[in-house]
């Protein structure tokens, strides 16, 4: 426990101390990372705690952003006086109210039907917003400006970053505290066995509505932070892509671990920051990572980390290290092969390349990749990824066996020690 608090303290200290030393681009990327993390945490309250899979959380994210912008507009034309750092309260309130309303209906249903109701709610807003000028500013959306408050101008990216950091940290703390309350335990029970909760005399529907509203409230705060950061919002906030991103972030990070969604959101937003200007295929990589995690590590990155922490004392590194090294090598080979292929194909199929070919009267100019020039029809070009792929695929079964053997050893030792603590639940945790 102490170690965990210390680790969190270190992370917080880094998040506070480092950004002033970074450029504006980094500060902005880190602000986005915080917003995505908070959104994923809010989303995970539903799926991780209550077992409800929402495919329309963009609705509450967007509502929070629009509510905040309306407040900002009112402040801008001086019809309202409100403190800038407290702006996310508008997003929280709007998220809570709309969340309670939508949640009341959505939670009548469960499983796939629940997911479909949430999807329909978000799509409804997405298709309505561009036509509703008064509320959503039409297609262009709303735009406002952060006003100075209390001696702070809120003009710089760094100030916005600290505002986002404060709200995200506070929200995550509140979400954590929530899981410790009796009501939080009740939601967990609801996920595991709704029947039992009913028999115990609790109103399952009311409980779900409250969880839903709280999740929507924190999503609203995340949306508010985005509105504050960008000073704008338009209907695209309601799009399926936004709902999809939060699902991706949460499950890659791991929905069964409290801070798992933060891991997923951070990895993906920073990933996007680094590669989105370098390659146009980053969404493809994102999809591939997600599917691989769904297939081979259903508990996400967070699940893997947690497994290591749980069995820390039982890990025998002389066994594990070679297995991990091998797995890492296999991963590097396969990643290299896939990235090489995707990037090379992307260049060959791009309109720029077609234009270059026209300039050269149909000749095939070499493609530039990883700082080297590659001839399109030279065997060397295609031998490189083929060799990488072959090496990776040949070693893959071996690596998997080694991993399994070394982890079997860990689990055996755990079984042997077998304390009073029950086995952590590994599968079925995302069952709706």
């Amino acid at each position: 426990m102490l170690a965990r608090v210390a680790a969190i303290g270190v992370v917080l200290a880094v998040l506070i101390a480092v950004p002033p030393l970074l450029g504006i681009g980094w500060q902005n990327a880190m602000t986005n990372m915080l917003i995505a993390s908070l959104f994923a945490m809010a989303f995970n309250l539903l799926i991780g705690q209550a077992g409800l899979l929402s495919f329309g959380h963009a609705a509450f994210f967007g509502v929070g952003a629009f509510a905040t912008l309306h407040l900002m507009l009112a402040i801008e034309d001086r019809s309202v006086s409100f403190s800038t750092p407290l702006l996310p309260l508008a997003g929280a309130a709007a998220g809570f109210v709309i969340g309670a309303f939508a949640g009341y209906f959505a939670t009548i249903r469960s499983g796939v039907y629940f997911a479909l109701v949430t999807l329909a709610v978000a799509e409804l807003l997405h298709s309505l917003a561009p036509h509703w000028d008064g509320l959503f500013g039409g297609e262009a959306g709303l735009s406002s400006m952060r006003m100075p408050w209390g001696g702070l101008s809120f003009g710089s990216t760094l100030e916005v970053y600290y505002l986002a950091l404060g709200w995200t940290a506070l929200s995550i703390l509140l979400l954590w505290a929530y899981t410790r309350t009796p009501f939080g335990r009740l939601t967990l029970a609801l996920r595991d066995n709704e029947q039992r909760v009913r028999f115990m005399g609790y109103n399952a529907h009311a409980t779900k509505v409250i969880v839903f509203a709280i999740s929507a409230m924190f999503s609203g705060i995340a949306g508010a932070l985005l509105a504050i950061s960008n000073e704008t919002a338009n209907y695209s906030l309601f799009s399926l892509h936004v709902s999809a991103q939060v699902v991706l972030h949460t499950f890659v990070g791991g929905s069964t671990v409290f801070l798992g969604p933060v891991i997923g959101a951070s990895v993906f937003t920073l990933f996007a920051f680094f590669v989105s200007d370098v390659t146009r295929s980053w969404l493809l990589y994102q999809g591939l990572v997600f599917v691989l995690i769904m297939l081979y590590a259903p508990l996400g990155i967070g699940g893997l980390v947690q497994a290591h922490m749980q069995h820390w004392s039982r890990l025998r590194w002389p066994d594990l290290a070679p297995a991990y090294a091998l797995a890492g090598a296999v991963g590097a080979c396969l990643t290299g092969a896939v990235v090489f292929l995707v990037e090379a194909l992307q260049i060959v199929f791009s309109p720029e390349y077609a234009a270059a070919r026209r300039r050269l009267d149909g000749a095939w100019p070499p493609i530039e990749l990883f700082g080297l020039e590659w001839q399109v029809f030279s065997p060397v070009t295609w031998i490189v990824p083929s060799l990488l792929a072959a090496a990776g695929l040949l070693l893959l079964p071996h690596a998997r066996r080694k991993l399994r053997e070394s982890w079997d050893g860990v689990l055996e030792r755990a079984e042997a020690e077998r304390t009073a603590e029950p086995e952590p639940q590994l599968a079925g945790a995302v069952e709706p």
Binding site: G25, E139, M145, D277, R280
Partner: protein, 412 residues
């Protein structure tokens, strides 16, 4: 985080024997915030290509402020959120001039971001050269000193169309307006209604539909058929234009289309014979250019100038002209000085002069009304069809009055 073209600029620098790192001179940095992924990619690419073409030219002639001009590309992923993000990145990279054009919604975001940035960072301003976003509000409600628009707007296009078509006897008495339901489409609808009197026609019906979402325009064609118009005026672009014309062709409906973006790459090839005889008003027609620009452009980029490329070239050329009028002696670049010079700059093109109207920073530029014809000098999209010039309207005649909603704060 740098775009690929940075390397190119550096390459040019080396070739011209500039000292590596460009000495102490502050290079002028131009950031293109365009859709380089997502639905509008190909248009975004064209803006970038055309801008790069002129900048290469300027750099060959000594660059600016003792250093080559740098172009950095930013992918806004086709959305306003992406644009807001990339604007911040551009500011972080020290960009002085932002270019954008593929969408009025994104331009609205960029122009607001630029305005706010300039309020917060006096002395470190950024200017926005709008290459293709035509919504009137950008030079109306949202106008500010650091925004310049180098393309037409709805009244310019519609008035030109109406007058030229009336003269040619192709307009008729019944006009139908079908447009996309956002700022640009509504501008087109308003302009169509406003021109009814001078054009001597009746607007029989107007329709606003969802933007680039409609798979099947047949229901709309049924509606148009019922209204029985002679001419359909539409500001639709991309799929919305193509599908509308295809559905009309399939239904065998005989109407003439008066369009604004028929020259988008691929439209003629996709539309086939159905587009023959339809009209377009655009800021440039290659058929009217006998000054050798098309060939020079092709030699440098591999293709003839298409769609929004010529207007982009003109915009950056005007900027280049303005840059000649300021001199920072290799020191710090002042964007305000450049903006002031740009207000007064004008260039000659084969179609006519291009200049900036100081009151709202709308460019005064010629508008060409063209008609799709067979076997022109420059057929497009690998077909036999192309755009024959019907009439070229000089800038001063094509321009509309300054909008009353534009309240511009000018720096002293």
């Amino acid at each position: 985080m740098r775009g690929k073209s940075l390397g190119l600029a550096m390459g040019v620098a080396m070739a011209l024997g500039w000292p590596a790192g460009a000495g102490h001179a502050e290079a002028l940095k131009i950031g293109i915030i365009e859709s380089l992924s997502g639905a509008q990619t190909s248009t975004g690419r064209l803006f970038a290509t055309a801008a790069q073409y002129v900048v290469n030219d300027i750099n060959k002639n000594g660059g600016f402020n003792g250093a080559p001009i740098e172009i950095i590309e930013y992918d806004n992923a086709g959305g306003t959120t992406g644009a807001a993000d990339k604007f911040k990145q551009a500011v972080a990279d020290g960009v002085h001039v932002v270019l954008q054009g593929a969408s009025s919604a994104i331009a609205g975001q960029v122009t607001e971001d630029v305005r706010k940035h300039n309020i917060r960072n006096p002395g470190n301003e950024v200017m926005f050269i709008n290459l293709g976003a035509e919504a009137l509000e950008l030079t109306g409600d949202k106008c500010h000193f650091y925004h310049f628009r180098f393309t037409t707007t709805a009244p310019m296009r519609v008035n030109a169309l109406v007058n030229a078509m009336k003269k040619a006897g192709d307009l008729g008495k019944r006009v139908y307006a079908i447009n996309q339901n956002y700022s640009w489409g509504r501008d087109m609808e308003d302009a169509t209604k406003a021109a009814a009197k001078t054009g001597g026609y009746e607007v029989v019906e107007t329709v606003l539909h969802e933007v680039n979402k409609i798979q099947d325009f047949a229901p709309f064609v049924a509606k148009i058929k019922t209204a029985n118009p002679d001419t359909v005026i539409t500001g639709n672009w991309s799929n919305d234009l193509l599908l509308l014309m295809k559905a009309t062709g399939d239904a065998g409906l005989k109407v003439r289309f008066a369009t604004t973006f028929l020259d988008q790459v691929g439209n003629i090839a996709n539309g086939g014979q159905t587009v023959l005889g339809h009209y377009i008003a655009h800021p440039y027609n290659i058929e009217a250019d006998d000054k050798g620009f098309p060939e020079a452009y092709k030699a440098a980029t591999g293709h003839l100038p298409v769609y929004i490329e010529p207007q982009t070239v003109n915009a950056i050329r005007t900027l280049g002209k303005a840059l000649k009028g300021v001199d920072f002696k290799g020191g710090e670049v002042s964007v305000t000085e450049i903006a002031k010079a740009l207000e007064k700059a004008s260039i000659e093109t084969a179609i006519g002069p291009v200049s900036v109207r100081a009151e709202d920073h709308q460019a005064i530029l010629p508008v060409v009304v063209s008609k799709v014809v067979e076997n022109p000098k420059y057929p497009v999209d690998g077909t036999k069809l192309g755009f024959g010039v019907v009439e070229t309207i000089p800038g001063p005649k094509a321009i509309y009055p300054v909008q009353g909603s534009c309240k511009m704060d000018r720096p002293s």
